[in-house]
C-alpha cells in the first residue's frame, strides 16, 4: 500500500468509525468497537504492524501518519465515550426524578412465632439475665413426677384440682410444669435456679376461657437460706419485667401440696386498674402467679436435704399472660390454627393503608 492509499484507507476508517459509533449508546459496545479499531489486533493495530514492510525511507512518514490517525481515532472514541456517559448520567437523573421514596419495599415472607411462644421467650430472657437455666420435661409424664414426687399421693384430694388425661400405657399428660422441679433437682443437685416453660394438659371442658391444652412456666430456686422475703422480691421483679412497669400485687394463702407455705400472688387488674371489671370478676385482682416455698418432702424426692437447703417455686400461666398482652379474648384461637387470630394482620396482609395505626403497631 503506498502512502496515498494508506491515507485514503485511514480517512475511510475514520469516516467509517465515526458512522459506526454514532448510534452506540452503551459503553461496553463502544469499547468493543474501539478494540476492533485501535486495539492490538484491531484494524489500525494491524496497520501499525505493517510499518516494517515499507521501504526504510518511508517508515518514518508512515509511522507519523499512522500515529496521527490513532490519535484522531482515540479522540473520536473519547468524545463518543463522553457523550454516552453524559447520556447515561442524565438518563439516571431523569429516572430518579420519578423515584417515589415513600413506596413500600418488596417484602420476603414474614413469619412470626406464636403469641404464647413470644411471651415465653420474653420470660426466658428475664430469667436468663438473672442466671436461671432453662429446663424442659416430657409432656407424656409418669404419675411419679406429676404427682407423687410433688407430695400428692394417690387418692389425695388435690388430684381433683388437676383433672388428668390418662393414657392406656399408664402414663399421663402432665397437668402442670411442676414435674420438672424434681427432674431438675435430680439432674443438677443444689443449689440451682431454673425455669421450665412448657405445655400442660387438663381434662376440662373447652370454652372461651378454658382449654385442655395450655402453657405454663415453672420456676425453681434452691439455695441455703432462701426465704419468703426472697420469693416476694423475685416475684415482684418478674411482674415488673414482664409487664414493663411496676404492678400492684398482693400475696395471700394458697394451697398446693408441693409447697409449704403456698401462696397465690394476685396482681391489680390491668384492664380496669383494680377498680373491678368482668375480667377480674369485679375483685380488682387477677390471680396470676401461684407460688410457695418448696415442701421438704419434695426436696427429699429430689435428693436434697431440707435441713441444709430451702427454696421457692412458682408457676406462671403463659397462656393467660399472652392473652392479656395481646388482648386475645377467646383462648380457643391459640390452638385453632387460623393465622388471623394469632398473627398481627399487617404481618399477613402486607403494607396496610387503613387502619393507619395497624402499621405502626407492628
Amino acid at each position: 500500500m503506498d502512502i496515498d492509499q494508506l491515507q485514503q484507507t485511514l480517512a475511510d476508517l475514520e469516516a467509517e468509525t465515526t458512522a459506526k459509533i454514532a448510534g452506540i449508546t452503551a459503553i461496553d459496545e463502544l469499547r468493543h468497537v474501539e478494540s476492533q479499531t485501535t486495539g492490538k489486533s484491531g484494524t489500525l493495530g494491524q496497520m501499525l504492524g505493517t510499518i516494517k514492510d515499507y521501504p526504510a525511507d518511508q517508515r518514518g512518514q508512515v509511522g507519523k501518519i499512522l500515529n496521527q490517525a490513532k490519535g484522531k481515532l482515540t479522540g473520536i472514541f473519547k468524545q463518543a465515550g463522553d457523550r454516552i456517559r453524559q447520556a447515561e448520567t442524565s438518563a439516571e437523573a431523569s429516572k430518579a426524578s420519578t423515584f417515589d421514596p415513600t413506596l413500600p419495599g418488596v417484602r420476603p415472607p414474614l413469619g412470626t412465632a406464636h403469641p404464647v411462644t413470644l411471651v415465653q421467650w420474653q420470660v426466658e430472657d428475664v430469667f436468663q439475665r438473672l442466671g436461671f437455666m432453662i429446663e424442659t420435661g416430657p409432656e407424656m409424664e409418669t404419675e411419679y413426677y406429676n404427682f407423687e414426687a410433688l407430695n400428692i399421693p394417690a387418692l389425695h384430694p388435690a388430684r381433683d384440682m388437676q383433672d388428668t388425661f390418662w393414657m392406656t400405657n399408664n402414663m399421663l399428660l402432665r397437668t402442670h410444669t411442676s414435674p420438672v422441679q424434681v427432674r431438675a433437682m435430680e439432674r443438677h443437685g443444689p443449689p440451682l435456679r431454673v425455669i421450665a416453660p412448657g405445655r400442660c394438659f387438663r381434662y376440662e371442658t373447652i370454652d372461651a376461657s378454658h382449654e385442655n391444652t395450655f402453657h405454663q412456666v415453672e420456676g425453681l430456686m434452691i439455695d441455703k437460706n432462701i426465704s419468703i422475703a426472697n420469693l416476694i422480691a423475685m416475684m415482684r421483679l418478674l411482674l415488673r419485667e414482664v409487664f414493663g412497669r411496676d404492678v400492684k400485687a398482693r400475696l395471700r394463702p394458697g394451697y398446693f401440696p408441693f409447697v409449704e407455705p403456698g401462696f397465690e400472688l394476685d396482681m391489680s387488674c390491668l384492664i380496669c386498674d383494680g377498680k373491678g371489671c368482668p375480667t377480674c370478676k369485679h375483685t380488682g385482682w387477677i390471680e396470676i402467679l401461684p407460688c410457695g416455698m418448696v415442701h421438704p418432702n419434695v426436696l427429699r424426692y429430689g435428693k436434697i436435704d431440707p435441713h441444709e437447703y430451702t427454696g421457692f417455686a412458682f408457676g406462671l400461666g403463659l397462656t393467660r399472660l399472652a392473652m392479656m398482652k395481646y388482648g386475645i379474648g377467646d383462648i380457643r384461637v391459640l390452638t385453632g390454627g387460623d393465622l388471623r387470630a394469632i398473627v398481627p394482620t399487617p404481618r399477613l396482609t402486607g403494607p396496610t393503608i387503613k387502619p393507619e395505626s395497624a402499621g405502626a403497631a407492628c
Binding site: 384430694p157 381434662y203 426465704s227 390454627g337 387460623d338
Partner: protein, 799 residues
C-alpha cells in the same frame, strides 16, 4: 362453700364497722380465698305465721288453691300456687300491705273470681333460693299470728373457694371459719354451745351395740337413739341460714343433720329408729346391690364400706343412707350416726359410684374424730328445744378403735424468722399459735407445739406447716421483699431446649414461617376425611371427646387442617409447628420433638418450585442451626401416610442421620382436604429434631484470599431425567485435578431446548494455583479434562 355471716356472728363478734367486703378481704389475705360476697336483703315487713285451716282447688286453674288461714286474731282467705300444702301446716305469710323487695307491696287481688288477701310467700322471695317456689313452713312451736321480724331474713353470704380449703377440714364448717375470724380480729371465739358429753353418757339407758371390723377404715363410730321426734319443720332461723348457704330446708330432723354438718363439718345420718338396732361397720363383697335413699339401686364397688344392722346393709358408709331405713314424717324414734371414716375409702367408693355427696366430700378431707360425739351433743342441744316430746332412748354410744395420734411439732423461732426473711419473736409465734388453739410450751430456745385435733388429721405435720400459720398472721404483705444471695454454678445446658428455641427462632424470624399450635391428639373425623389410617397409636383412656383418643405420630395432619383454614384468606403461607409426636418407633413410651412445615401457594403449577424452595429452606435452616447442610435422598415412604404417598417425597439427612421427610402434598390429598385446594400447590416437611441437639460444633475454618486470581468455569451436562442428582454428584466428586479448588451445583433445568427425558445440570468449577497466575493453556487443559470426565460418566455436554 357458702358462709352466712349471721351464723358466724353467733360464734364471734365481728367488728361492726367493717363491711362484708372488708371482712371477706381480710379472710382472703389471711385464711382462704373468698370468691364472692352477696347481700341477702329481703326487706320484709308485715310477715306473720299463718295456719292453713282449709284448702280448696280454685276451679279453672291448674294448681291454685284457695286457702283459709288462721292468723291468730282473724281468719283470711288467700289464693296460692305453693305446692305440697296441707291443712294444719303453718307457713310464712305476707299480710295485706306487707312488703318484700322481690315482690314489692303485697296487695289484695282476686284469682278466678275469688278474693285473695295477702300472700303465702315463696322461698325465693324470702332469701331461701333452694326452695324457690315453695312455701316456707313453720314449726308448731310458732303460734299463728306471730309476727316474723324483718331483720331475721337479711344476711350476708360469702363464698369461700373450695380448692383453697381442700387441705383444711376444719374450714368446712361455720365454726371453723369463725375460729379464723376470731384470730384475724384478735377476739374470742365463743365456746361451741352443746350439752355436756357426761349428760349423754350417764343416763340410765341401754348402749347401742356397735361393732367395727376394721379400725383403719372406720376409726370411730358414735351413735345415739332418740325418741319423741316428728316430721315437723325446723325453726325459721335455721331454715333461713340453710337457705342462705344453698341448702333446701326439708324437715327439722334432716335440717338438723345438714345444719350441724355445715357448722362443724361433721356429716351425720339419722336412721329410722324402728328399722335399725345394732350397728356393724364392715366391707361387703363387690357386686352386691344396695338401694340408697335417693331410690337408686347401686352395685357396690370393691372396698365399699357399709353400715349394717342385723346383717342387713343400711347405709353406704360416708356416702349415703339406705332407702329402707330412711326417716319419714311418721318416724318417732331415730338412731343418729356420727362417725369417722378413712378418707381414701370414702373417696374411692364415691368415685367408683360416681356419686359424690356433701358427706363424702367432707369425709375425704380427713375429719377430726373428736367431732363425732361433739356433733351428737350439738344435735341434742338443738333438737330438745324443738321437739315437745324429745327424749333420749340410749346412752351416747361410742366405738373408737383407732384413736387419732396426737401431733406435736418442735419449732425453732429463729428458724421461723430466717425462713420468713422477717423478724419475729418467740412471743409473737406463741401468741399467733395460741389464738388458733395450738398449745405452746417452751423447751430451751425451741417451742413445743401441740396441734389441736381439728388441725392434726393431715393439715399440720411439720415445722413448715407451723411457719405458714405464723407467716399468714404476721401478714404476707408485711414481709419486706429481699433479693436472695446466690451461689454461682455453671449448670450443664439443656441441649434439647437450646436447639428447639434456636430452630424455632430461625423458622419464624428468618425463614418466613408462622408458628401454630395444634392438639397432641388426632381428630379421627379429620383423618377419615384425608383417608389416613395411622395404625396403632398410643391412646388416651379418657379422651376429651370420642374420636380424640389417638396421639399424633406426625404433626402434618394438624398442619394440613390449619392449611385448609388459612387458604380462605391468604394466597400464600408457610406454617410450622414444633411439638411432641408419638411415633411408636421403639415402644409405647416414645415421645419425640418434631418440627412440621407446610408451604402453600395459590397456583396450580408451582409445586416443584415450592418443593425446591422448601428444600432450600431446610438446607439453609440446617446450616444456621447446626452448621451443616441438609441433603436429600430417595425415601422409604409409608404409603398409608397420604402426604408421603407421592414420588415427589425425599428423606432429609443432616450430619449423616435420617431426620425427616420432605415432599409435595399430592393432588388427591389436597382434594380430599378441600376441593378448592386442587388449584393450589403445597409442600411439606417434617423433621425429628432430637438427634440435632447433641451434634458437636463441626470444625469450621475460613479460607485465606488467594494470592493469584482464580477462575470459574461453568459446565452444563444432560442427564436422564429419571436419574438422581445424588448419583451425578458422586460421579463428579470422583474427579480430581491439581488446579481444582471447588465444584458447586448451580441449577437443574428441564423444558425448552432440552430433549424429552433429559435434564440439564449446571456445575461451576473454580480453579487456581496458589503460586502463579493461570494461563490460557491451563484453562483449556482443565476444561478438556473435566469434560472428558463428564462424558466418560455418560453425560452429554451441552454448549
Amino acid at each position: 362453700m357458702l358462709i352466712s355471716l349471721n351464723w358466724i356472728r353467733e360464734f364471734v363478734d365481728l367488728p361492726a364497722d367493717l363491711s362484708a367486703d372488708a371482712l371477706a378481704e381480710q379472710f382472703t389475705l389471711i385464711a382462704a380465698e373468698v370468691e364472692g360476697v352477696e347481700k341477702i336483703e329481703v326487706g320484709a315487713k308485715g310477715l306473720v305465721c299463718a295456719e292453713i285451716t282449709s284448702l280448696k282447688p280454685v276451679s279453672g286453674t291448674d294448681s291454685t288453691h284457695a286457702a283459709e288461714l288462721n292468723l291468730g286474731d282473724k281468719t283470711v282467705q288467700t289464693c296460692t300456687n305453693a305446692p305440697d300444702l296441707s291443712v294444719g301446716d303453718r307457713v310464712v305469710y305476707a299480710t295485706t300491705g306487707a312488703h318484700v323487695n322481690a315482690l314489692g307491696t303485697i296487695n289484695d287481688t282476686t284469682v278466678g273470681g275469688l278474693p285473695s288477701a295477702g300472700m303465702i310467700l315463696p322461698g325465693d322471695a324470702l332469701g331461701v333460693e333452694p326452695a324457690a317456689r315453695e312455701a316456707i313452713f313453720l314449726s308448731p312451736n310458732v303460734a299463728p299470728g306471730t309476727e316474723l321480724p324483718g331483720e331475721l331474713f337479711d344476711d350476708w353470704v360469702i363464698e369461700v373457694d373450695n380448692h383453697s380449703i381442700n387441705h383444711r377440714p376444719d374450714l368446712w364448717g361455720h365454726y371453723g371459719i369463725a375460729r379464723e375470724f376470731a384470730a384475724i380480729f384478735k377476739t374470742k371465739l365463743k365456746p361451741y354451745p352443746v350439752v355436756s358429753e357426761a349428760e349423754l353418757t350417764s343416763v340410765d339407758l341401754p348402749e347401742i351395740p356397735i361393732t367395727i371390723d376394721d379400725g383403719d377404715a372406720c376409726p370411730r363410730y358414735s351413735g345415739l337413739r332418740m325418741t319423741g321426734v316428728t316430721g315437723q319443720p325446723a325453726p325459721l332461723w335455721m331454715q333461713l341460714r340453710l337457705g342462705h348457704v344453698g341448702i333446701r330446708p326439708i324437715s327439722c330432723l334432716v335440717d338438723l343433720t345438714n345444719y350441724i354438718m355445715l357448722e362443724l363439718g361433721q356429716p351425720m345420718h339419722a336412721f329410722d329408729g324402728d328399722t335399725v338396732t345394732g350397728i356393724e361397720v364392715g366391707f361387703l363383697k363387690p357386686g352386691a346391690k344396695f338401694t340408697t335413699l335417693d331410690n337408686i339401686e347401686r352395685t357396690l364397688p370393691d372396698q365399699a364400706l357399709m353400715i349394717l344392722s342385723d346383717r342387713k346393709p343400711v347405709a353406704l358408709a360416708g356416702v349415703m343412707g339406705g332407702a329402707d331405713t330412711e326417716i319419714s314424717d311418721e318416724t318417732r324414734t331415730i338412731l343418729l350416726e356420727s362417725a369417722n371414716f378413712h378418707p381414701h375409702i370414702i373417696r374411692k367408693c364415691a368415685a367408683a359410684l360416681s356419686h359424690r355427696t356433701d358427706a363424702s366430700a367432707r369425709f375425704e378431707k380427713s375429719l377430726d374424730p373428736a367431732h363425732t360425739t361433739l356433733a351428737i351433743q350439738r344435735f341434742v342441744t338443738l333438737a330438745r328445744d324443738e321437739f315437745a316430746e324429745f327424749a333420749l332412748a340410749s346412752k351416747l354410744s361410742d366405738a373408737y378403735p383407732k384413736p387419732l395420734e396426737s401431733v406435736t411439732v418442735t419449732v425453732d423461732p429463729a428458724f421461723v424468722a430466717r425462713f420468713m426473711g422477717h423478724p419475729v419473736t418467740r412471743e409473737q409465734v406463741t401468741d399467733i399459735l395460741t389464738a388458733l388453739e395450738f398449745k405452746v410450751r417452751r423447751d430451751g430456745d425451741n417451742l413445743i407445739v401441740d396441734v389441736p385435733s381439728f388441725r392434726a388429721t393431715r393439715d399440720i405435720e411439720i415445722e413448715a406447716d407451723i411457719i405458714e400459720e405464723v407467716a399468714r398472721y404476721v401478714g404476707y404483705n408485711n414481709i419486706e421483699p429481699d433479693f436472695p444471695e446466690v451461689t454461682i454454678r455453671a449448670l450443664d445446658p439443656n441441649l434439647q431446649q437450646r436447639i428447639e428455641k434456636r430452630a424455632l427462632q430461625l423458622l419464624t424470624q428468618s425463614f418466613g414461617c408462622c408458628e401454630i399450635f395444634r392438639y397432641l391428639w388426632y381428630d379421627t373425623e379429620f383423618l377419615n376425611r384425608i383417608k389416613h389410617d395411622p395404625g396403632p397409636c398410643i391412646t388416651l383412656r379418657n379422651p376429651a371427646a370420642a374420636g380424640l383418643e389417638r396421639f399424633r405420630q406426625s404433626l402434618i395432619p394438624g398442619l394440613l387442617s390449619a392449611a385448609e383454614l388459612n387458604r380462605h384468606h391468604l394466597d400464600a403461607f408457610r406454617l410450622c409447628e414444633l411439638g411432641t409426636a408419638f411415633p411408636r418407633v421403639n415402644n409405647d413410651h416414645d415421645q419425640r420433638r418434631h418440627i412440621g412445615m407446610i408451604t402453600a401457594l395459590k397456583s396450580k403449577k408451582a409445586e416443584d418450585q415450592l418443593l425446591a424452595e422448601l428444600k432450600g429452606l431446610v438446607d439453609a435452616w440446617s446450616w444456621q442451626l447446626v452448621n451443616r447442610p441438609a441433603t436429600f435422598t430417595p425415601a422409604d415412604i409409608a404409603e398409608s401416610r397420604q402426604w408421603e404417598n407421592s414420588p415427589k417425597t425425599a428423606a432429609i439427612y443432616i450430619a449423616g442421620q435420617d431426620v425427616g421427610r420432605i415432599g409435595i402434598i399430592p393432588l388427591e390429598l389436597r382434594r380430599n382436604l378441600d376441593e378448592h385446594l386442587a388449584a393450589w400447590s403445597m409442600a411439606w416437611a417434617e423433621i425429628h429434631i432430637n438427634p440435632l441437639a447433641t451434634l458437636d460444633e463441626p470444625p469450621s475454618k475460613l479460607d485465606a484470599i488467594p494470592q493469584f486470581p482464580e477462575v470459574e468455569l461453568d459446565f452444563s451436562a444432560l442427564v436422564d431425567a429419571t436419574g438422581h442428582y445424588d448419583g451425578v454428584r458422586k460421579q463428579i466428586a470422583a474427579f480430581g485435578d491439581d488446579l481444582l479448588r471447588r465444584i458447586t451445583f448451580v441449577d437443574s433445568y428441564e423444558g425448552k431446548s432440552i430433549p424429552d427425558g433429559k435434564r440439564a445440570l449446571t456445575f461451576r468449577a473454580r480453579i487456581g494455583d496458589p503460586s502463579r497466575t493461570l494461563t490460557e493453556e491451563d484453562l483449556t487443559r482443565f476444561r478438556a479434562a473435566f469434560e472428558k470426565h463428564l462424558t466418560a460418566n455418560g453425560m452429554e455436554l451441552r454448549q
